[in-house]
Symmetry: C2
Subunit: 347 residues, 2 copies
Amino acid sequence: MMIAGPDCAAVLGLLVLVAGCASGPRGDTSDTVSRIEWGLVLHGGAGTISPDDLSPDLERQYREAMEQALRAGHAILRDGGSGLDAVVAAIVVLEDSPHFNAGRGAVFTADGTVSHDASIMDGATGRAGAVAGVGTVKNPIRLARAVMDASPHVMLSGPGAEQFAAEQGLEVVDPKYFFTERRWQQLERARALDAGQESADPGAARSIHGKFGTVGVIALDRQGRIAAGTSTGGMTNKKWGRIGDSPIIGAGTFASERCGVSATGWGEYFIRNVVAYDICARSAYLGIPVAEAARRVILDHLEAQEPETGGVVALDRDGHVIMVFNTTGMYRGYIGADGRIETAIYR
Amino acid sequence: MMIAGPDCAAVLGLLVLVAGCASGPRGDTSDTVSRIEWGLVLHGGAGTISPDDLSPDLERQYREAMEQALRAGHAILRDGGSGLDAVVAAIVVLEDSPHFNAGRGAVFTADGTVSHDASIMDGATGRAGAVAGVGTVKNPIRLARAVMDASPHVMLSGPGAEQFAAEQGLEVVDPKYFFTERRWQQLERARALDAGQESADPGAARSIHGKFGTVGVIALDRQGRIAAGTSTGGMTNKKWGRIGDSPIIGAGTFASERCGVSATGWGEYFIRNVVAYDICARSAYLGIPVAEAARRVILDHLEAQEPETGGVVALDRDGHVIMVFNTTGMYRGYIGADGRIETAIYR
């Protein structure tokens, strides 16, 4: 049954563009987007975060860890190093901190184990590496990088990925290294919630301190190359070998020559909506700034499906710093060529 | 450092559209795209396939299995059933056949085991389910469907996913069920190739019979809903818990209200390029037909990175049947409302 297909829908496409340009005050992002010549932007997780959750001392520790991560990446870029190396260096600092749900501070699964996911992508070449479900590698982002550099694959998982880590000589640690009292208490609380022993307060269940959290870094290097990386311990009390968006290229992480994105939040929504790639695709195909694309995806598209789904950090090739979230907070910060650092937590 | 961001690049967007419309003979797909009122399109893997590889008897068996799968899905749609149910019914037929690299006919990993990946997505609701690295579930597509319907997650993996399958009462089989002599010989051949004992003929290494293969189905039901599903045994001789594109929403499978895609081929390229989603995104954002978007992604974008990367089948909401591949062959077929079946293998 062969019949005529549609013609090239130029008129429709033009209408879409015009509609996009006329979409209201968000169309002009000039007053909300910072710009750097080169540098890094990071997140340490998005969720229900209020000043009541953080003592002044704990808030200071979060900010210091983010600053240390940004400085580690900046030092590499300043010396002409690659965005990829800067992303790894910054994420390693966050993985080594007990505060973020990644590396050392990972939340516990339902089995009382840790299960790390991570991914990295090189926007200049389109290469990528990812790991899911590893529990013995000190820095999962280094393993994702090794998958990209030293294997023919993009994504490895479970015991096989740990075997690859051993073959690559990556640092392996005793599972005790990942034990933090705070995360254990969160697991016990989540178990109680799931068992109905505590009232199911959606805010509590969704709190970054109880459930979500991920770290991510985007770098724009002096050669104009964008790299993106994401690392997480996943979801407290997760079962059945659940894989979230963080190790999925297109969902939690994406980078191209013109756009890099790392996401954090309720992973299932980020997978179904292919969030990281969708932001770059909307920018490229609709001809809108990455910042505007990020707002449409996070504030309109995701928010319409479920409130407080999460957020992203992103950079475009012109150095626009993008930090967009629909939660009450997102640990976030950036550093420019001049070494000046900005960090923030609440909306 | 706050500076002005870029304005909405309507002019650039328009130029992109005009360039797209003027991209040559491929811009008009009217003579190559069939159309159905409702029905299904499937693939059984793309790769280096030549008539020399298939005896007339084997070719007949492949075609019969594809026809049986299409009829199974058609029966459900004819009676007013959902596209989701039709996708599962059709993929189960292909999984139960020893001929396709999915379910029973899965290739062997480097360990001599099987490791199935599968995913499914409901375009009408945006829900999705996926599994990676399961080796005991008779029909992995049923498990992906159960993840979507009966878990709060999108993606489960490994032993945890098998535990979930048991909890859901899905049929579990002895690993012997997945043993086929032909696949075992392919593993031994791949091991010899990797060990350098046979000359590394890229064609041979890339042959669907030796390395790749996946099955996928898109359905458009009488209510106008699109569903997409993909199932695979992955790559012969794969190591380290490698996950390919088939279980990754956005890479191997995607469905929306207007577009459904299932991919097959060299999975790493399909992950990096977020192929299934990119086809739907280009159509939606550039305002071009899904068929044209599929051609640009498979024939131009992927082919420029690596020849013979694979292919896709797709449907849009108007029932255009899309089967595009850059390999010498792709097992493929479709069925329309009238029950007429078309199948093909070679280019």
